[in-house]
Amino acid sequence: MPYKIIRYICLKYLHKGGYSVEHVDQVCLSLRKEYGKCVKMAGLLGRPDMLFIFDAGEVERVFRGEDGAPHRPSMPSLNYYKHTLRKNFFGEEKDCAGVIAVHGDSWAAFRTKVSRVALSTGAAAQYTEQVGDVADAFINRVREIRNSKSETPDDFLNEVHKWSLESLGLIALDTRLGCFESCEGSESQRLIDAVNTFFLCVGELELRTPWWRIYPTAMFKKYVAALDTILSVTLSHVERALQECKDNSSKSLLQDLVTAAGPRVAAVAALDMFLVGIDTTSNAVASTLYQLSKRPEVQEKLYKEITGVLQGRPLKAGDVSQMPYLKACIKEVLRMYPVVIGNGRQLTKDTVICGYNIPKGTQVIFQHYVMGNSDEYFSNASEFRPERWLNRSTYKHHPFASLPFGFGKRMCLGRRFAELEMHIIICKMVNAFRMEYHHEPLEYHVHPMYTPNGPIRIKLIDR
C-alpha cells in the first residue's frame, strides 16, 4: 500500500500565512479546501505526525474500530506534570493517575471505576435542583452587574466561568465554593485564575516549539504553578468533603466515587474534572447565549417550550427531558461552533483511512468544526436551524460529523454533568430575560476553546 505523503509544513503558516494558534479554525478550513479530506501534517517539532480527517465516514470507521483502551493524544506537558514532576502523588496508588493524559490499562482501570458512577443515566439528574440554585444565583448576579444600558459587562465570560466553577464544585466536591461572592485573592478566584492560566498555557506549550522540554520556560513555570494550585485546592476540598461524608447520609457523586473506588480516585477524578470541565462548559454557555441573543425568534420558541413545561413552578429533575428544542439549540451551537474544534486519537493499530495505510502511533484529528459546517454533512450548514436535530427525516445529517463529546469508550466522562449544567442555565436565562445583541458581530477564535472573540455584551431585558 503506497503511503502517499502530503507533506505540509506548519512553518509556512507560521511565517508567511500569519498563522497563529487563535486561527487554527481558518487554517483547518483552508487545508480541507486545498488538500482534500485527509491531510498529513509532518515535520512538527517534537510531536508525532498528525493526520487531519475531514471525512465523517472515516471518523465513524476509526471510532467503530476502537479497541478496549483507545489512546487519546494528550498534552505532553500534562503528561510530564502527572508522570514526571508529580509522579509521587499520581503514581503512589495503582491505576490512580486519572483519565486526562493517561493511557492503556491504567486509563481503562481508572475509567471503569469512575464511569459507572459518573455516566450512569441518573447520575446527573439528581443534581437538577442544586445546579438550578447555582443558575439562580448566576441570574441574580448578572442582574446586579448589568451596566446602565442593561448589558452584560465586558468581563462577562469571567462571570460565566464562576458559574461553571460553582456548578462543578457542587458536583465534584459537594461544596458551594462561593464564586459569586469571590474577590481578588479569594480561594475560588485563585482556582478560576489557575484554570484560566492552565488553559492559556496549554495551548502555547503544546502548539508552539516545546522549549519546556529542554528547560523550564517562564510559561512552563506558570503552568506548573497553576496545576499545583488546582491540585492543592481540590485536595483540600476533597479531604473536607470526605470528613463530611462520614456524618452525612445524602448520596452524591463524590460519595459514590469514594464508595466505589476510594478517596484517592475520587480526588483525582475531581482534579481531572476541574482541568477540563470548567472553561469547556462556560465557553459553550457563553457562545450559546451570544448566538441566542442574535436570534429573537429562536428565543421565543424556546421560551414557549420552557414555560409550557414549567407552568410557573421551579425546575425539577426530569423537566429538561421534556424540552427537546432546548437540547437541539445547544446541539446546533456546538455543531457550528464546537468549543473543542477537533478531537483525536492516537492509532493503536495500523488503520486504513481514506484509502491510505496509516501506521500505528499516528495522531488522527477529527475535524469536527470543518465537518460540522460542511454542506456535505448538513443541509444548509451555514444556517442556524435547531430543528435539524428534531426532525431526522427532513434534515439528513451524518451522525459522526458533529460529536462535541466524542464517542465510545473514551467519550467525555463529564458529559452528563456538562449537559445538565448547560440545559439548566440556558433554560433559566431564557426564562428570566429577553436577550438582545446590539454590537458588531463577534468573530470566533481558538482561545484555546472556540469562543467569541471580544466582550460579549448582551442586553438583558427582564421578562
Partner: protein
C-alpha cells in the same frame, strides 16, 4: 448476583445444587413461584443463534456478559451509554411492550448506531421483565468495514 451463574461452572456438583436451591428459594419467596429467569435468543448478523438466560432486572448486556456470549465488541463501554456497540433490533411487538422508552442519553447514542432501525434499542438499556421470556433480538453488524 450475576457472578453466581458465571462461577457455577467452576464449582463442584454439591455447590451447584446448593446454589440452585438458594435460587429456587429466592424465586419462591420473592416471586411466589413465578418465573425468575428469562430466556433470550440473540440472532447474530452472521447467522449464528445464541440462547441464554437472564434474571428479571438484568439488562440484555448483562445477559451477554454473564453468559460469556461470543458477540464481538458487544458492550464496549460497559453499559455507560457512550457507544452503540450493544445495539439490538427488536420485533415491533416486543419493542412496543418494553416498559421503558429510550431516554435522551440512549437516543443520542442510537443516532450513532450502525444500521439503525425504528425498533432499535441499546441492549444495556433493555431490562428484562418476566413478560419478556422468550424474547428474540437481532444483533446487527457493528462495524461497517469491508475494506480492511
Amino acid at each position: 448476583m450475576h457472578h453466581s451463574r458465571k462461577n457455577k461452572k467452576k464449582r463442584n456438583p454439591i455447590v451447584i445444587i446448593s446454589i440452585l436451591k438458594i435460587r429456587d428459594l429466592e424465586s419462591f419467596s420473592t416471586n411466589l413461584g413465578e418465573r425468575f429467569w428469562v430466556k433470550v435468543t440473540f440472532h447474530l448478523f452472521d447467522g449464528r443463534k445464541l440462547e441464554a438466560e437472564g434474571k428479571v432486572g438484568d439488562s440484555l448486556l448483562d445477559v451477554v456478559v454473564n453468559n460469556d456470549l461470543d458477540i464481538d465488541g458487544y458492550g464496549a463501554c460497559e453499559g455507560t451509554v457512550t457507544c452503540s456497540t450493544c445495539h439490538v433490533v427488536l420485533k415491533q411487538k416486543d419493542f412496543d411492550r418494553l416498559p421503558e422508552e429510550a431516554g435522551d442519553e440512549e437516543r443520542d447514542m442510537l443516532d450513532l448506531a450502525y444500521g439503525l432501525t425504528d425498533t432499535s434499542r441499546l441492549g444495556c438499556q433493555v431490562i428484562l421483565t418476566k413478560d419478556l421470556d422468550g424474547l428474540e433480538v437481532k444483533v446487527p453488524e457493528s462495524v461497517n468495514d469491508a475494506r480492511s
